[in-house]
Amino acid sequence: EFRRFSLERSKPGKFEEFYGLLQHVHKIPNVDVLVGYTDIHGDLLPINNDDNYHKAVSTANPLLRIFIQRKEDADYSAFGTDTMTRKKNVLSNVLRPDNHKKKPHIVISMPQDFRPVSSIIDVDILPETHRRVRLYKYGTDKPLGFYIRDGSSVRVTPHGLEKVPGIFISRLVPGGLAQSTGLLAVNDEVLEVNGIEVSGKSLDQVTDMMIANSRNLIITVRPANQRNNVVRNSRTSGSSGQSTESSLPSSTPNILGNLLQGEEESDEEDIIIEDSGEPQQIPKAAPTSDSIESLSQIELLHESTQNGFLPSSSEMNLNHSAGSISMEYEAPEPGPKSLEEDGTIITL
């Protein structure tokens, strides 16, 4: 069952609103569904939060094809790279339940997000001599695998050059996350841990901070080897797929944005076992102040989008079927690829 409807590209709104809209247009208000779309490479990717929803809207060229599946019948393995090319026809797959049954149903859990990977972030807001590295422990079995030590570095001060104590990476464990990403090296000086400066803190304090943040560790270092530094204008954009793309010249909101998102992710991971039942993640009781921060984050994104292209409307075709729903969505020109360029324009 196909539906076609339009959406204002410049103001896509939040995922929850979009989800409500889908339920509304398909007249299935109380049915849990999975939402997916095909990106420019033909991959079927999920839409389940604000970020990937915005990404999806921005990649619509001009039509955005959206697939909706009832959650209980969901075929999780359908998502991922090459899904569209590997399977001749996802639709036929989805529509024929007997075909569906043959596949081994190895599902661990619903991927709540794109799986984040370790990366260099905030390149455009940091001095060229610094590097901010995000180590994603989540989802890997690899140990973080590095050691830190006390040391001293030379700083330029009003009184001339001065030796100041600092914290340095002393060792990388072979096969560890730190080594395998190649983003950190021995003798890199640690400047910040998750946005908090380490100067004035003892080795033990910094160790505790790093371990406390180990699920989403963001370290700002001054690399010992300064030859591989990123040159500002030929910026290689961070691949974290997050706020880097919408980054603004001022650094503070950006640091905040990164950190808070990290916190949100690690937040819901506490597990409860009730009456010796199955382990479950502990849900959040009520919105906390964090959500206010994420709101402002979205607003930032909006502003930058507006710089890029004109507000436009699009149509949507809707078709109904019993088991699953797919949807096509069209967004006219100008194309959405301008997002990345926007960032550049703004930073210049």
Binding site: K137, P143, L144, G145, F146, Y147, I148, R149, D150, G151, S170, R171, N194, I196, K201, S202, L203, D204, Q205, V206, T207, D208, M209, M210, I211, A212, N213, S214, R215, L217, E263, S266, D267, E268, E269, D270, I271, I272, I273, E274, D275, S276, P279, I282, P283, K284, A285, A286, T288, S289
Partner: protein, 959 residues
């Protein structure tokens, strides 16, 4: 009632915070660490103690305390009160002199340093020329005589410390008119002691180290008498009438000398070696005290036979045929005698001997037969046996208080009934607002109950758990059982006894219910004792149970200590807390957490292997839960192997050092091939050492995992009556938190009172929460519908607390070392959190709920969390919104034992150890503040009053 507090600066809240919170270190309780000097003013009836860190503390009547600190932090060598003044002079080991005075300010006296002075010799003179050995504050209060190492005696004016050069007493002046054979310049080296004549202030007795003693006329500036001692001099003392003096010597002898106007160079009257004839140690200080009955008291320090008793720290008292050598367990720093200070009195009539030993203060009543000890009201030796844990209970009901005091008084019958003889000054502090108990657990298996209500930390009662167990040492074995004819007549005094018979007896956790008088204590070898207060002696059998915390986990081997053996049959217990239940954990690992619910009659305990619940009413183990991760070998094997693995690198470095030592020693003797090998070894060691020096300290950065060691270590246990399963019915519950960030909640079914003995208590696991950051859980708390922490057991029954709100929804607060988290109940969803470590790099070490009252209005108070971090900071965090209110630096972060020893009270005060023997008391509250406030008035002085000084000198200098 409570408004939602917005983050950021709310001026109303900021003002309220000022009315609620204030940080003060108020008083130091206990015995000063490393005392080095003692002084006493018979005029002010104040005693002064100096320490090696430069502190000076004055004590008078209970509650009268002053403290001062020399900026230099140098050792205080001597303390001398200025006669008839509120002033004293201290001599430090850097040869500086300091004048302190007590002055009234704002209605109370304060101790302040007025002047400092260092004696300077002529240019080019050696340092010994001005090295002060003897100090004599003259009774004129105008000058100070300073005897030096060079033999010169300088006179300085007070309070200006101006040197009166024309008054200097040089060895040359002294040596005039002395027979040729004694007249060598060397005989006047080093002024050992200076003593003013008791009746004639113009005469000063000068004792030189080599034995020469000279009576000097101050007015005419000449020597009047010469006493030619042949033995190395230690000290001098005048008899009260001034007709005789006594000298004591290095060889363990003392000598009496007559002073009369007709003989200018008298012979000694009597020379005695009290513990001869074999060679004796020096007598470093001596008193001669006259009495009405004619028999003097001779009191001296040291003099023991060198070979057999040379290691004893003794002070001997001889009175006629009575002779006792008081034997101290630690070095004697100094002592003084309290005697009649009335100048008109004919006799000294000594009443008490006050001895400052390195680890305790001992006062002996010389008036009562048998010379019993006097129980000091302050300066308690907290560390008689090392403190292993502390527990504070606020606001003790009067009934329990009286029963504890009565139990304690039965233990103190051997003390003298003499009122405390050092009673100067007046305590003007308001009476303590409530009765507080501080309980300290000790290494020797005792629990001491201290009155912590006021400025004087006073021992009320001592409980020993040793009697329950069979140990190698017989508790009845007494070191004092010496035969009648024993010589020397040693008698052990004092309470300081650092040697523990069995480290397994050590107390690790204490919980006292102040309403019921139930007490639970737990120890190093997994023993948990539940006790009840009984006002009479009793003999009964202690019920004994074992809790196998490993349960069905097979194949593990405990390599730690064995469990304690218990006594069979009934055991006699003295009045006080008497054990009736003993639970022994198996394996017998140290008990790491303890909780007692006196209303439900349940006790919960945890070790590194798991936790258990015991019903002490039915004397039945309700359940045990193993928390051990199967791969955690370290926790299984026990404390020895743990230390081993943790200290592996240390051990290796020791081994290296030892090896290099061995090889260097061998090299000296050996030759040929062997020596070459050893040299190679040594080279290797050298390289290894160098490598060690080059490799800096590094820290591994790794996320915590379930497989880490000691994740099963139970850190906290908590009883709560709350909504565990559904929101309509609340039930008793037990909560446990582990080192690995796991929280277990058990739903308990406690039968109603009328069927309490008939039906078993049942427990069922209802929840298990795994914090993903896996940091150790150090606190669990349930907040009621009004967001108030649940009251203690029986608190409501005694009308001391409002009943908890069971209508609204309850919340669970879990405090880990890294975060504070609030969850809803009964359905667990996360509501609020505060991250500490991720943002500040510090971890929670101690956390308590404290009630803070406003200093402005009586009707406002609130509950907050008082938190001590591993950096030694104290933070106050609001409930239930988890907002940081205020932060104070309190303990140095290097002071690990200080941080570990900290206890908070329920009303925003706290204690931590600043040394093994001293608690620092601090207050976070504006309302509850216990600090000394006292006045020292100048007693009236009659015009020609001449108080006999009892100057004390530092005898330690020579030992």
């Amino acid at each position: 009632m409570r408004r939602f507090l917005r983050p950021g600066h709310d001026p109303v809240r900021e003002r309220l915070k000022r009315d609620l919170f204030q940080f003060n270190k108020t008083v130091e309780h206990g015995f000063p660490h490393q005392p080095s000097a003692l002084g006493y003013s018979p005029f002010l009836r104040l005693m002064a103690i100096g320490t090696r860190s430069g502190a000076i503390k004055l004590y008078g009547a209970p509650g009268v305390e002053f403290m001062g600190l020399h900026e230099e932090n140098n050792t205080v060598m001597q303390i001398h009160f200025i006669p008839d003044q509120c002033q004293l002079v201290t001599l430090l080991d850097d040869n500086s002199l300091h004048l302190w005075s007590l002055k009234q300010h704002g209605g109370a006296s304060e101790l302040r340093e007025e002047h400092r002075f260092t004696l300077k010799g002529p240019p080019g003179s050696p340092p010994s020329a001005t090295q002060v050995i003897a100090v004599l504050p003259h009774s004129s209060r105008e000058v100070l005589y300073l005897g030096t190492e060079s033999g010169n005696i300088f006179v300085v004016e007070l309070p200006s410390f101006r040197v009166l050069e024309d008054k200097t007493i040089t060895p040359e002046a002294v040596l005039q008119r002395i027979p040729e054979d004694n007249c060598s310049r060397r005989s006047c080296e080093l002024v050992e002691v200076l003593r003013e004549h008791p009746k004639n202030p113009n005469q000063i007795l000068i004792g030189y180290s080599r034995g020469l003693i000279v009576l000097w006329d101050v007015q005419n500036n000449k020597a009047t008498h010469h006493f030619l001692g042949s033995q190395q001099l230690e000290n001098l003392y005048w008899q009260r009438d001034g007709n005789k003096f006594i000298s004591c010597h290095y060889d363990g002898s003392y000598t009496q000398w007559p002073v009369s106007s007709d003989n200018r160079q008298p012979e000694p009257l009597e020379n005695t070696v009290p513990y001869g004839p074999f060679p004796c140690k020096a007598i470093s200080k001596i008193y001669w005290q006259t009495t009405k009955n004619g028999l003097p008291y001779i009191i001296f320090q040291g003099g023991m036979p060198r070979a057999s008793y040379g290691d004893r720290h003794s002070i001997s008292v001889i009175h006629g045929s009575q002779q006792t050598a008081f034997d101290f367990t630690s070095r004697v720093i100094d002592f003084f005698i309290i005697f009649s200070s009335d100048p008109a009195a004919e006799f000294d009539d000594p009443s008490a001997l006050v001895v400052l030993a390195e680890e305790e203060l001992v006062v002996i009543d010389l008036k009562s037969a048998g010379w019993p000890s006097v129980h000091p009201p302050y300066l308690a030796s907290l560390h008689c046996s090392a403190i292993t844990c502390s527990h504070h209970v606020s606001n003790i009901p009067l009934k329990l208080w009286e029963r504890i005091i009565s139990a304690g008084s039965k233990q103190n019958i051997h003390y003298s009934s003499m009122p405390w003889p050092i009673d100067g000054g007046t305590n003007i502090a308001p009476d303590p607002p409530q009765r507080d108990l501080l309980l300290t657990g000790h290494e020797d298996g005792t629990v001491r109950f201290w009155d912590a209500s006021g400025v004087c930390l006073h021992l009320l009662y001592k409980l020993s758990t040793v009697r329950v167990f069979l140990t190698d040492a017989d508790p009845n074995d007494n070191m004092n059982t010496l035969g009648e004819d024993e010589w020397p007549p040693l008698r052990k005094v004092g309470t300081f006894d650092p040697y523990s018979d069995d480290p397994r007896l050590g107390i690790q956790k204490i919980y006292l219910c102040k309403y019921s008088g139930y007490l639970a204590v737990a120890g190093t070898a997994g023993q948990v004792l539940v006790m009840e207060l009984n006002d009479e002696d009793a003999e009964h059998v202690v019920d004994h149970a074992e809790a196998d915390l490993l349960q069905d986990q097979e194949g593990y081997r405990w390599k730690g200590h064995e469990k304690l053996k218990t006594r069979d049959g009934p055991v006699r217990f003295e009045a006080g807390f008497q054990p009736f239940v003993l639970v022994q954990c198996q394996p017998p690992a140290v008990v790491t957490s303890l909780a007692l619910h006196s209303e439900w009659k349940l006790v919960a305990f945890g070790t590194s292997h798991g936790f258990g619940l015991f019903d002490h009413q039915q004397k039945r183990l309700v359940f045990v839960k193993c928390t051990l991760h199967p791969s955690d070998q370290l926790a299984l094997e026990g404390p020895l192997s743990r230390v081993k693995s943790l200290k592996k690198s240390l051990r290796q470095s020791f081994r290296r050092i030892r090896r290099s030592r061995v090889s260097s020693r061998k090299r000296r003797g050996g030759g040929g091939n062997a020596s070459e090998v050893q040299e190679a070894n040594a080279r290797f060691d050298q390289d290894a050492l160098q490598e060690m020096e080059l490799a800096p300290v590094q820290r591994k950065i790794e996320a915590r995992s379930a497989e880490d060691s000691f994740t099963g270590f139970v850190r906290t246990l908590y009883f709560a009556d709350t909504f565990l399963r559904d929101s309509s019915r609340h039930c008793p519950s037990l909560w446990a938190g582990t080192n690995g960030g796991t929280v277990y909640a058990f739903c308990l079914r406690v039968p109603p009172a009328e069927r309490r003995m008939d039906e078993p208590v049942r427990a069922e696991q209802a929840k298990e929460i795994q914090l993903m950051h896996r940091a150790p859980v150090v606190g669990i708390l349930v907040l009621d519908g009004r967001s108030t922490p649940l009251p203690e057991p029986l608190e409501v029954a005694h009308d001391l607390s409002k009943s908890p709100d069971m209508q609204g929804s309850h919340q669970l607060l879990v405090v880990s070392e890294e975060q504070f988290k609030v969850f809803t109940l009964p359905k667990v969803s996360s509501k609020l959190k505060l991250k500490l470590t991720a943002l500040e790099g510090c971890r929670v070490r101690k956390v308590t709920v404290a009630n803070f009252g406003s200093c402005k209005t009586d009707d406002y108070s609130e509950n907050d969390l008082a938190v001590l971090t591993n950096l030694g900071d104290i933070q106050i965090i609001s409930l239930p919104f988890l907002k940081l209110q205020i932060r104070y630096p309190c303990i140095r972060k290097e002071d690990v034992s200080g941080i570990a020893s900290c206890v908070f009270t329920k009303y925003g005060q706290g204690f931590y150890l600043i040394s093994p023997s001293e608690f620092e008391r601090f207050s976070l509250s504006t309302k509850w503040l216990v600090e000394p406030r006292c006045i020292v008035d100048m007693p009236e002085v009659t015009s020609n009053n001449h108080v006999h000084k009892s100057g004390t000198e530092n005898a330690a200098r020579k030992s």
